[in-house]
Subunit: 338 residues, 2 copies
Amino acid sequence: MKIGSQTIQLENTPKLLQTASMVGPKEMDGPLNQFFDLHTDDVFLGEKSFEKAESKMLEQCVNHLLSKAGMNNSMIDYIFAGDLLNQCISSGYAIRNLNIPFIGLYGACSTFCESLALAASFVNANYGKNIIATTSSHFCSAERQFRMPLEHGNQQSPTSQCTVTGTGAALVVPNSSSIHSLYITHVTFGKVIDFGIKDMTNMGAAMMPAAYSTITTHLQDTKRKLDYYDAIVTGDLGILGSELLVDQFQKEGYDISHIHKDCGVLIYDKEKQDTHCGGSGCGCMASVFSGYFFEQLKSKKMNKILIVSTGALMSPLSIQQGESIPSIAHAVAIENEV
Amino acid sequence: MKIGSQTIQLENTPKLLQTASMVGPKEMDGPLNQFFDLHTDDVFLGEKSFEKAESKMLEQCVNHLLSKAGMNNSMIDYIFAGDLLNQCISSGYAIRNLNIPFIGLYGACSTFCESLALAASFVNANYGKNIIATTSSHFCSAERQFRMPLEHGNQQSPTSQCTVTGTGAALVVPNSSSIHSLYITHVTFGKVIDFGIKDMTNMGAAMMPAAYSTITTHLQDTKRKLDYYDAIVTGDLGILGSELLVDQFQKEGYDISHIHKDCGVLIYDKEKQDTHCGGSGCGCMASVFSGYFFEQLKSKKMNKILIVSTGALMSPLSIQQGESIPSIAHAVAIENEV
């Protein structure tokens, strides 16, 4: 049922049964490498283009999820998926091969929580027993689509983030299943927020207000306080965007510095890896949540987390036409006990 | 609840309370002009680019829907929306101004039914009381993104379709509302189907197998026969795709020629308008359903229809890389009595 202004309380507390993750070579050089299920050293994955490689990575990750869950594709009711490529071809072509009824999404880097929120909402409403949420991104396909071809060798701005070559997939099932697992209790869908930032190399600043809006709305809607959660995990605000978010809460009298985590900050080593403000892309939260945070929850190092993926809804064309960057954030609450 | 393999039965039969539609000059020259709420003679709508014009059209259409329903934007729980432009900027920027919690979709020309199906699924599950589904397309923005800039003046292939400059929006509310209206009883989400067609100027042929798959699956899942419906309305198979669909059913022993309608065929006059195989685009079914078919249902000229929007999930890049065109179709059953 809907509670408050933007949140759905999932009374039947669907379970997050299993996840799978896959990343590229740079992410395997980073500090979270032990948490990823699969990785590739070849950014082409044996394919002839980066786009085909990204699509193959998503397909492999979903197949690995099915294998971990002991299922096959015919047991999956629906798959919610999206990516950053024009016309979402990474998802479309991958799911052609997976042969699962498909609901395609676009929410830029917010798509992982959008996808997981919809999957959980569907299971909660008895619209399916096994529903998958997945997203992907690939550094090389994103660079040439959103910025410059790699061959151009352009210098990155200090505020820029590095698109993660990665994917994550999550399987949501009804609570009636006897296997102990994590519960998805609430989902909050965001509004489009635009504070007028036009610099495509500073996504963290552009997306921060959307994260702030969705987190505060989620807390109001659920009547929870910040300390209810062991961690509030944003998708890819990066180093600068994360600082801005902490500052913004500070201005309102709240200190979130000890509970705020950002997947874009965590995935790379800022001292050793040349990734400026950190990671970004649909595959950033997808792989870091499905790898690292899922493990933290399963091992009860964390028991209640709010994940908030943030997306910048511009296109290169809209920026060329002088527009600012509209952003959005969607949140999913995941808990060990209900 | 889920029934059969791909269908959700909406036991609470949410109501389709109101729709609104808006089209461009070519569509107003066509045979359905009396059914559209709004139109523009200026394809720029006073904006500086076709993309901004498309976004403005979507925003105006949603505002008109709110006005027809006697509501304002703060009364709307969620809006499901999508379009054909890269990164779905038409929807993203329009909804920034509308200030409604936003769930972004990409399903190419299948997005209208995807959007309406999700809106109805959400209302059925008590996730909101007023939920909007909307999509748009614009001939000029689509031409330069998917094919050639208009200035190039390229000749169209005889099998090509003309992207509709149009938008439609629908408001779904719970059945508990006392106002008599139409009911959404079932939704069927499609699988990605690819028969290997690589010709981007022959979308009708590429999408027909997806329409066939979703229609037949819907009938199996609901245990309904073809003649249950007064009309089976596809989105934009166009003239050739529609003939292929009728032929395909004929091969299986069914004659659907008398009940099959296609929005892409209906929207233009094939004798007088130079539109080859008819209309296409997210805005085609959105405007034709929200204009013409909604009126047919309200006036009880039709009482039970199945609308099936069809989408081709390729991008210009995937075609350049030698890929074929994967397609998908989603279906929504709308009835006067339940």
